[in-house]
């Protein structure tokens, strides 16, 4: 089963002076179990796109299907959809509201009608997954540092155990270790449970390291949709639209220019290290 976007367009404030076409005829199939990276310049429509996947926004035209059903037909269970397709917002403040961290994380699963014991178990487990220390559990989420808030927001969605997990720039504001820890946790979770993950990110390095497929947005349109190695081959075109290849790709290109016989399609540090070692031995 899958999420399908069929000719989806979204225009903000249609008919006013402020009219903005944020999505233009987007067609996408998100099959079960994939780890997808969604990248694009600021304002390219990523947040708008992901808010369509759980029915939070309605397309101006086009349709969205979840497991074969059009999510905007009468009688479609939207509440159920939101627990199945969990979205972590770009700004964690937009999703935190309870008086303490633990209650905040309980909100989602409780809303799903789960038993109280299960709710608390899940909240605890999720907070552990995101690496928030116990001392913060009973503090107001608003009294936390930026990175701590981010963790709570992610935990709140993980606790619903969604089938599809959408993370809108989940690592913005996390310290480097936290960045790796959270993404490792998500990758592990996906390996164990087979959930689908959509990761919106401005870090080409993170995307290169974790995802199987990259969708590149440019001014509301899908520009590339391919595996990471293939997408980053178009680094010149990506630069034109505000993006880049991972930094190691550029390093490899420089080394090659200086006569070191390395493969320049490399996108991770490990690949780069191995490539350079091999070339140096020659």
């Amino acid at each position: 089963m899958a999420i399908i976007l069929d000719h989806v367009s979204h225009i903000y404030e249609e008919g006013t002076a402020m009219e903005a076409a944020a999505l233009k005829d987007v067609n996408l199939v998100i099959p079960d179990g994939q780890f997808i990276g969604l990248i694009g310049h600021t304002g390219s429509g990523k947040s708008t796109l992901v808010q369509h996947l759980n029915g939070l926004m309605k397309p101006t035209s086009g349709s969205i299907y979840y497991n074969g059903a059009d999510i905007h037909t009468d009688g479609f269970d939207k509440k159920n959809l939101r627990s199945k397709v969990g979205l972590v917002f770009q700004y964690p403040e937009h999703q935190l509201f309870e008086i303490d961290v633990f209650k905040d994380v309980c909100f989602g699963p409780r809303n799903m009608g789960l038993e109280e014991k299960e709710v608390e178990l899940r909240a605890y487990e999720a907070l552990k997954q995101v690496g928030l220390e116990d001392e913060y559990f009973y503090q107001s989420p608003f009294d936390l540092s930026g990175g701590q808030k981010r963790r709570v927001a992610i935990a709140g969605v993980l606790a619903m155990k969604p089938e599809v997990l959408i993370l809108d720039e989940p690592t913005a504001g996390l310290d480097p270790k936290g960045r790796d820890e959270i993404l490792d946790q998500i990758a592990l979770l996906r390996k164990k449970t087979g959930i689908t993950v959509v990761l919106v990110s401005h870090s080409m390095e993170d995307v290169a390291k974790y995802v199987d497929r990259i969708v590149v947005m440019n001014q509301g349109c899908v520009m590339y949709d391919d595996e990471p190695g293939m997408v980053f081959r178009h680094y010149k075109e990506l630069e034109q639209v505000g993006l880049a290849a991972p930094q190691v790709t550029y390093i490899m290109q420089e080394l090659k220019k200086k006569g070191l016989d390395v493969d320049t399609d490399v996108i991770t540090i490990e690949e780069a290290r191995d490539g350079i070692l091999k070339a140096l031995k020659r």
Partner: protein
């Protein structure tokens, strides 16, 4: 005396319940000394919750020391008389741009600061134009800031601070929401302000690449300063940084990995050029 100085700065957040009884105390900044010279570019690194934002909020008198003293341009921040002087000397860009955007139109928002300072109208418009251009947002001047994307908003809030022509700008993770290009543009703009205008910069970031050109880096850990030095000195200590939940720039990491695999390389390589040179290519 430097533009920013702190002596044994301590700050404690006190949490109270509904009746006002103290529930808990968090010491967010713990005996921090600072001495930042006019024109310096200082980077502040540190794990989540290490006290960076709390420290930054002391530099333009949003928070006041629980103990110790902070001076901005020689003025004690506790001295209410100087509040506006201090806020004009040290402009702040926050972690979340939503919290500081006030105008209905981008250019109004950016003009708000200088207007409040009593800058003549004509000059306000010049400043608005110059600062919006500096962050690449001039063509959005007639837009509503609330309807911009995350990254666009962030650049508008930076323009708003630049327009006040402060002696010092404090940026609290200004690039967290930007695309690679936007990140480069902002860092370039900040470096240009630092170089050309001699504006002091305090940059808080979790992106290690952004600070390789800083004069000095300060690493915070649980409220205190754990390391300080030039970026090269700091980034030579890969293991120590990892313990502090930090990282090194990608080039530095690659060089470190190569060194571990037996390639003869020095510590603290910060740029691709340095790597090429060290590999004798």
């Amino acid at each position: 005396m430097g533009i920013i100085e702190a002596k044994k700065l301590i700050f404690e957040y006190i949490r109270r319940d509904e009746e006002g009884n103290v529930e808990g105390i968090t010491r967010a900044v713990d005996e921090v000394d600072l001495d930042i010279k006019q024109g310096d570019f200082v980077a502040v690194l540190g794990h989540n919750g290490s006290g960076k934002s709390t420290l930054a909020k002391h530099l333009n008198a949003i928070l006041y020391p629980t103990e110790g003293t902070v001076w901005v341009d020689g003025k004690d921040t506790m001295d209410e008389e100087y509040l506006w002087d201090i806020r004009q000397t040290a402009g702040m860009v926050f972690q979340n741009p939503d919290n500081q955007i006030i105008g209905q139109v981008v250019e109004e928002d950016v003009g708000f600061g200088p207007e409040n300072m009593g800058v003549p109208t004509k000059e306000i418009w010049e400043r608005v134009e110059e600062s919006l251009k500096a962050v690449g947002m001039y063509k959005y001047r007639k837009h509503s800031p609330n309807k911009l994307s995350g990254g666009q908003k962030q650049r508008v809030s930076i323009a708003g601070v630049i327009a006040m022509h402060p002696k010092c700008i404090i940026l609290d993770e200004p690039t967290a929401m930007l695309d690679p290009n936007g990140r480069k543009e902002v860092i370039r703009a900040v470096r240009a302000l630092n170089h050309a205008e001699g504006i002091t910069v305090v940059l808080i970031t979790h992106y290690m690449e952004e600070i390789i050109h800083a004069d000095k880096a300060i690493v915070m850990d649980k409220g205190h300063i754990a390391m300080q030095g030039t970026p090269r000195e700091i980034f030579s200590k890969v293991e120590k940084l990892k313990e502090l939940r930090l990282d090194v720039p990608q080039v530095t990491l690659l060089a470190y990995e190569l060194k571990k695999s037996g390639v003869n390389l020095p510590d603290g390589i910060l740029t691709c050029e340095e790597l090429i040179e060290a590999l004798r290519l």
